[in-house]
Assembly symmetry: C2
Homo-oligomer: 262 residues x 2
């Protein structure tokens, strides 16, 4: 065989994030163990996105090399039997031997969800940040457009990030009310989603964008201030890092040449 | 004070259903304990709907009598501090002394959710039934219309039900594809919702309706057979009882005269 690409979904609630670390249960750790047991050989995963503790994913991507004769597209079915139901390999496929989940991706999409209402609904409590006061979604959408394009996002990068180059390109950033949560039209409640697509994101960048846009939605900042926050290149000028559970990694896209049907 | 109405939402995953029973953790039990601790007096709840183990609710309704001086509308805020986050009192209000959550309701709405795709998504695994093969939603919608109106639903009532009168009225029953789950348009996956509104439901009636409609969606039965299933008044003629976790009680409606602002 050769290199196999995995599309991985998980409920991040129970995990200390993606990346393997000592004395913690991580998605990468549990997935590595499951693959090693299935294939009866040591497995080393290359990951695309090191999501933080509590962050969810619909389509994170990992890859590994194996000599096992199992058809690559069957690995998803087989390994899911070794995984807890809060981690699912949604797809497995052969890729080029030099495919790298992190370096070869050209587009990532994240969504940040906020529920609004008197109380957090038990059915969405683990998958959205909650606040009581309504958000001014139109103001958030207006503010969001300042971030679209190629910018130095130093103001939106947590300390501890190791990368030097803080320039990233956001191709799309929208804020919208997704659905009514309360179905009797009486107890109110709505779901606001911040959806961002870009070529890559700095450490905590989406959560800091979300925290800043929520300040706009709460009328603590004006949409017109966003350009100055970007230009300051200073983490202290942006808003707080929004809580992890509201964030989900939706998908990661790759060019056709390396990532399919090799 | 007097009688207080509570609108209660819960994630049924961790509970042996609504109704208090020995040696089991139930929603009614946990809620009764929390109210008793808050009000420092014994509380006896009247419940509207005794949902089964694993069934969820956005708006089940309960009522109780109290002499405590706390304003009724503040009870929701106060009691939530005593409740785990998978149970929330979404609203509390004073009602007439003879208000009864079960006998006074004129409309209930349930929804049954089914996710379709190769694997169950970790983010919806607890709140929907999952199957791999696509459902013929149009055939399900056609079949569903046979149940709308006033009928004897004996074929859709599990054994053990104590009621004699099996006649109920369904005012609305629709099957629709709610949203795409996979956001990359590649891994597929969709969410089918069966939404039913009626004046009351027999034991397991919605889950048996869902199980029967899924047989239609899987082309194991034709929509035209539904009238005969109803007319048979025989549980064995209907489909299986669909799994509990796909079911959610959405809301219960009451007349204005007893249930508001007394």
């Amino acid at each position: 065989m050769g290199r196999v690409k995995l599309t991985v979904a998980y409920d991040g609630t129970a995990y200390s994030g993606w990346q393997i670390q000592p004395n913690a249960v991580t998605v990468e750790g549990v997935l590595t163990d499951a693959l090693s047991r299935l294939l009866q050989e040591p497995v080393a995963l290359l990951g695309a996105s090191r999501t933080d503790a509590g962050v969810h994913a619909l389509g994170n991507v990992a890859a590994f090399d194996t000599e096992h004769p199992i058809p690559p597209e069957k690995i998803a079915y087989a390994v899911n039997a070794y995984l807890p139901d809060d981690i699912r390999v949604m797809r497995s496929e052969a890729v080029a031997p030099d495919f790298h989940p992190r370096f070869d991706c050209y587009e990532k999409c994240y969504e940040y969800r906020i529920t609004i209402g008197a109380f957090a609904s038990p059915l969405t409590r683990l998958y959205a940040h909650h606040q009581r006061r309504p958000l001014d979604v139109a103001a958030m959408e207006q503010a969001a457009q300042a971030f679209v394009g190629t910018h130095d996002f130093s103001s939106f990068c947590s300390a501890g990030a190791q990368v030097q180059d803080k320039v990233r390109t956001i191709s799309s950033l929208h804020v919208q009310e997704l659905e009514r949560l309360a179905e009797d039209g009486e107890d109110g409640g709505s779901l606001v989603a911040i959806r961002v697509v870009g070529n890559g994101f700095l450490y905590n960048m989406v959560r800091i964008l979300a925290g800043t846009l929520m300040q706009v939605g709460n009328h603590e900042r004006r949409p017109e201030e966003m350009s100055a926050v970007l230009e300051a290149k200073d983490r202290r000028k942006a808003g707080p890092t929004a809580p992890a559970k509201g964030l989900r990694l939706c998908y990661i896209r790759y060019g056709e040449e390396k990532s399919h049907n090799k």
